[in-house]
């Protein structure tokens, strides 16, 4: 099963709606609730990152019998130093993002913690591609 969701940069009122749809689908498929939680927490962190930092993005979801593969691609400023961005506490978030309860520099590390595989590539002034894979077994 494949699904695609658009993510609007800067629109915090819609942030989380794509992750919410994925959660509903995984619940309908009777996936283990602990795996659903791990997956949607990582997707939500990634979705908030796109809203907070990029102009636009999309979330491509591919659900197989044994795993979920999600690619989140955005058009935006990109990440100059991924190793630095992976460090807890490092953040370039704006005050507006912090007012929403984010921007503590914990998003990417938390995505890593909640995914079985995480791959990230980024080009400055082009955008970022993030792949999250979680297994159901």
């Amino acid at each position: 099963m494949e699904f695609k969701f658009e993510i609007e940069g800067g629109n915090f009122s819609k942030a989380g709606s794509a992750s919410s749809e994925v959660k509903k689908i995984l619940k309908q498929l009777n996936v283990n609730p602990k795996i659903i939680k791990r997956t949607v927490v990582s997707l939500y962190e990634a979705e908030v990152n796109v809203v907070a930092h990029a102009f636009e993005g999309n979330m491509n979801v591919d659900i197989d019998t044994d795993k979920i593969v999600v690619k989140i691609e955005d058009r935006g400023p990109g990440i100059p130093d991924i190793d630095q961005a992976m460090q807890e506490g490092y953040s370039t978030a704006t005050p507006q993002v912090r007012e929403m309860g984010f921007g503590a520099g914990m998003g990417l590390p938390n995505i890593k913690r909640n995914s079985d595989q995480m791959n990230i590539t980024s080009k400055v002034d082009v955008g970022t591609e993030l792949e999250i894979i979680n297994y159901f077994g």
């Binding site: 942030a15 992750s19 927490v41 939500y44 962190e45 929403m100 984010f102 503590a104 914990m106 998003g107």
Partner: protein, 115 residues
């Protein structure tokens, strides 16, 4: 374990969404205005105590399987927040206490810290 009814009674709180079963029991409490911190918590049966009243508070709870939110410092949930909370069967409570006082009272009646 603490019943929703006891939280309402001891904090003079208002139930603004999901008032169905006041006998539901909650084991743990976590207080934060930082949703990034909330998203790192892996504990079930949790009451989120927060002063952050925006849509992302509800979204964060939805993703984290948190079924109870207490807004402190007289923060009010918007209609949009209430709708999203109801859709996800999240009970919303509001009270006028500071976060420190609310936590102190809740701990006294048996709500446990996550760590």
């Amino acid at each position: 374990m603490v019943k929703v009814a006891d939280v309402v009674d001891k904090l003079n709180a208002r139930v603004i969404c999901g008032s169905g079963d006041m006998n539901q029991e909650i084991q743990f409490g976590f207080a934060s205005d930082l949703m990034s911190d909330v998203l790192t918590i892996d504990t079930e049966n949790l009451l989120l105590i927060t002063g952050l009243n925006n849509l992302q508070t509800i979204r964060t709870s939805e993703m984290s399987d948190i079924s109870f939110i207490l807004f402190v410092r007289d923060k009010k949930a918007s209609e949009e927040m209430k709708e999203l909370a109801c859709e996800n069967e999240i009970t919303l409570l509001e009270c006028g206490h500071s976060m420190f006082r609310a936590c102190s009272i809740l701990n006294e009646i048996g709500l446990q810290p996550v760590y």
